[in-house]
Amino acid sequence: MSFRYDIRLSGSGGQGLILMGIILAEAIGIYDGKFVSQTQSYGPEARGGSSKAEVVLSDTEIDYPKAMSLDLLLAMNQKSCDDYYMDLKNDGILIVDSTFVNQVPIQKAFRIPFTRIARENLKREMVANIVALGAIAKLTTIVTPKAIEAAVMARVPKGTEKLNRDALKAGMNAAMKAQKASVPQMLSERVDEDT
Amino acid sequence: MAEVTKLIHKYLRHDKKFPHVWCPGCGIGIMLGSLIRAIDECGYNKDEIVLVSGIGCTGRMPVYVDFNTLHTTHGRALTFATGIKLANPALKVIVVMGDGDAVAIGGNHFIHAARRNVDISTVILNNSVYGMTGGQYSPTTPYGMKTTTSPYSNVEQSFNISELAVAAGAVFVARGTVYHAKMLDGLMEMTFKKKGFSVIEVIGHCHTQYGKLNRMGSAVEMMKWQKEHAVTVEKATQMKDDELKDKFRIGVLVDKELPVFHEEYEKIRRWAKEAK
């Protein structure tokens, strides 16, 4: 069977999830050259309602375009974490924005305060999604840092390039810290599963 | 053959399409004559004219004349005409409609075509009734009149087509009658020459339906009514309000300049190419 990787980016409207999905899909599809499909679901409200974007990547043509069992779930708020963590595969990765997600239902999750980083370090809360993209690039092997940077630069408004580059870097750095912190935990859990 | 008849024959389609569908005595023929004389006077060639109509008695007009002719759906003539004009601005687009066509089912298209200032000349024959379907009340049937769907009396207020056109932003609005045929020729010519959305309301009569139900007599008597109730714009300025009470004004009601849609759109094309 060919390689297939299913990603769901979830949270509330206004957090830039659909743009995230587009950038991620573009990085994977155009800059990294894989097959990719990006879908979304949203309500009538542009702000505040539930919002999710999904990205499926593969080394071959993609049949079902929406995410099935998740290899990666990003939850930018508590509700989306609660709603979707059950869809994760056993070895799927959960990344939460710990600014808003206080209860993480599973142990092996990466908790990174994307919104707080954006607000405090970068002074612009709206780049939380780009911070999260940086973290995804670091925590997974689905997209190269080069590709994600190129895709971000191609989609963000002129004049905000530095801010967004900083946001990506901040996300990558935060991810590295989170990775170090979670490695022993994840290993111990693996052992538990096997026994 | 009289000169005037010869002129009309120059523009008629002689293959197959006569006699026409209109009742003897109908004013549409006079309006068609005026339209042809105005086109001739303006010097358009037949190939550049597109004559568009909707549905109803006026809807049948284009089939008789030798232009590019388009008989559309009820009320929608202006939407088709908008597409034609914008796809080929070199064409002279003339729309003919009736009162029901223009301001009932097509009312929305009428006000928006006027607002947009698409370069279309619009000729509306207002005979206060739906003639072809058998005399039902229309948006211009006056209060208190009888029709086949207001058998007791019409309790709705009526539209004033010209005032509606003015309010919607038409750059040129004129009113004439089929009785004042000579004057109609001149007004029609001005309507066609005007760049932008121009409207001419032509007061006509439907003796077959409306006249009969309201005991208004024959076509001749109904035309006499037009003669007696029409007041020129110039004369109206010297008359008191109570003298004008049951009268209507004929002549040029509005003539102003506004940017025309297809010319404005050239700017958009320029900007779009610059932004590319």
Binding site: G33, F35, P44 | R13, T79, T82, G83, L86, A87
Partner: protein, 380 residues
């Protein structure tokens, strides 16, 4: 890392429709804002003026449909895009385009109905509106993409068919495909067949605008070309003049049908996926065709002989390909995001012992591969 070229793009279905339309030569668009078709309007308002085309936002969908017919008569390849509620309003003038034989393309990005329904959720419930929405006996061509690439290709085909057969062509795209982004490569130099309406070559005085031809499609003069003729929504004779003669009415209506029916093979587009040895075949279209393909793959992994037939042409109904799988399969499953519109057609043409089962989902979400698999297990 591959270098980004201009031609490899991550596009939404709606955006690919725009690219396809422009490639096909579309130069006029009239529309009215409606979810989930609005991206088509927005993008064409940017792109059409760049190529000396015209974009106009009309006062409603009735007007939009009228305007594209007018523009086409004046010589421009034209299109509109809408969703269910607006598509309902277009039905009146859609019929006009059929009877007056005016080429044009209508995109209906299907959302949940009836009425205002589910503006942001997908559905496939306009299949029958596309077929019979306008009154009167008429043939119609309706195409349905299920990938972004197909949005591009099918839009080009839609314009070609409209021009070739002098008919409105409807593209039914569901919200999933309309809003989905996939990578497609567009090659400006690619040799794609673009068909333009056949114009008369005879002198104007010999031109018979609605004359029958071997293909059933008369040559079409544009307004302003010097061929002054009459266009009407009334049933007309070969000259375009209204007629009430039975001997003129009958051949006219039959010609309208014949010009489509004698070209079925050319109009039918679809894909057989592992159907040759399939005991169970899933017949699907739009986004659900992708679920079907996935379900067939997963079923084969489990040792079940399952195939899928994707319909890219919805109308005229793909009778021959459907009959083929009806003959070779024991079980047919038709999953649809409606209460059963194409499945009725499948049942209608079924003269075999194959059993036809349906999956009907009307909750505003796509039918998943698992749901199809579940049905397979249930009925096999």
């Amino acid at each position: 890392m591959k270098k980004k070229t201009k031609k490899e793009l991550l596009l939404q279905g709606n955006e690919a429709i725009v690219e396809g339309a422009l490639r096909a030569g579309c130069r006029f668009f009239a529309g009215y804002p409606i979810t989930p078709a609005t991206e088509i309007s927005e993008l064409l308002s940017v792109r059409l003026p760049q190529v000396d085309g015209t974009f106009i936002q009309m006062e409603d969908e009735i007007a939009s449909m009228g305007a594209i017919i007018g523009a086409s008569l004046a010589g421009a390849k034209s299109m509109t895009a809408t969703s269910g509620p607006g598509f309902s309003l277009m039905q009146e003038n859609l019929g006009y385009a059929v009877i007056a034989e005016v080429p044009c393309v209508i995109v209906d990005a299907m959302r949940g109905g009836p009425s205002t329904g589910l503006p942001t959720f997908p559905s496939q419930s306009d299949v029958m509106q596309a077929r019979w929405g306008t009154h009167g006996d008429h043939p119609i061509i309706v195409l349905c993409p299920s990938t972004v690439r197909e949005c591009y290709d099918i839009t080009i085909r839609a314009f070609n068919m409209a021009e070739k057969f002098r008919t409105p062509v409807i593209i039914l795209v569901d919200e999933v495909v309309a809003h989905m982004r996939e990578k497609i490569s567009i090659d400006e130099d690619e040799d794609i067949e673009i068909f333009n309406r056949v114009k008369p070559t005879v002198p104007p005085e010999w031109y018979i605008p609605y004359e029958d031809t071997p293909r059933g499609v008369p040559a079409m003069a544009n307004f302003g070309d010097g061929y002054r003729y009459h266009v009407t929504g009334l049933t007309h004779d070969i000259r375009g003049f209204p007629t009430s003669r039975p001997d003129e009415i009958d051949p006219f209506i039959r010609r309208l049908f014949r010009k489509i029916s004698q070209h079925f093979a050319e109009l039918h587009m679809g894909e057989f996926f592992e159907t040759d040895d399939a005991e169970i075949t899933i017949i699907a279209y739009g986004c659900v065709a992708r679920s079907a393909k996935r379900a067939a793959r997963d079923a084969r992994e489990r040792g079940l002989k399952v195939g899928a037939l994707k319909l890219n042409t919805i109308w005229p109904f793909m009778r021959t390909p459907v009959e083929k799988v009806l003959q070779t399969s024991k079980i047919i499953i038709v999953p649809e995001m409606n209460m059963g519109q194409i499945s009725r057609e499948v049942k209608r043409v079924n003269k075999t012992d194959a059993k036809v089962f349906t999956i009907n989902k009307v909750d505003g979400t796509i039918i998943t591969p698992e749901e199809i698999l579940r049905k397979i297990k249930e009925v096999r």
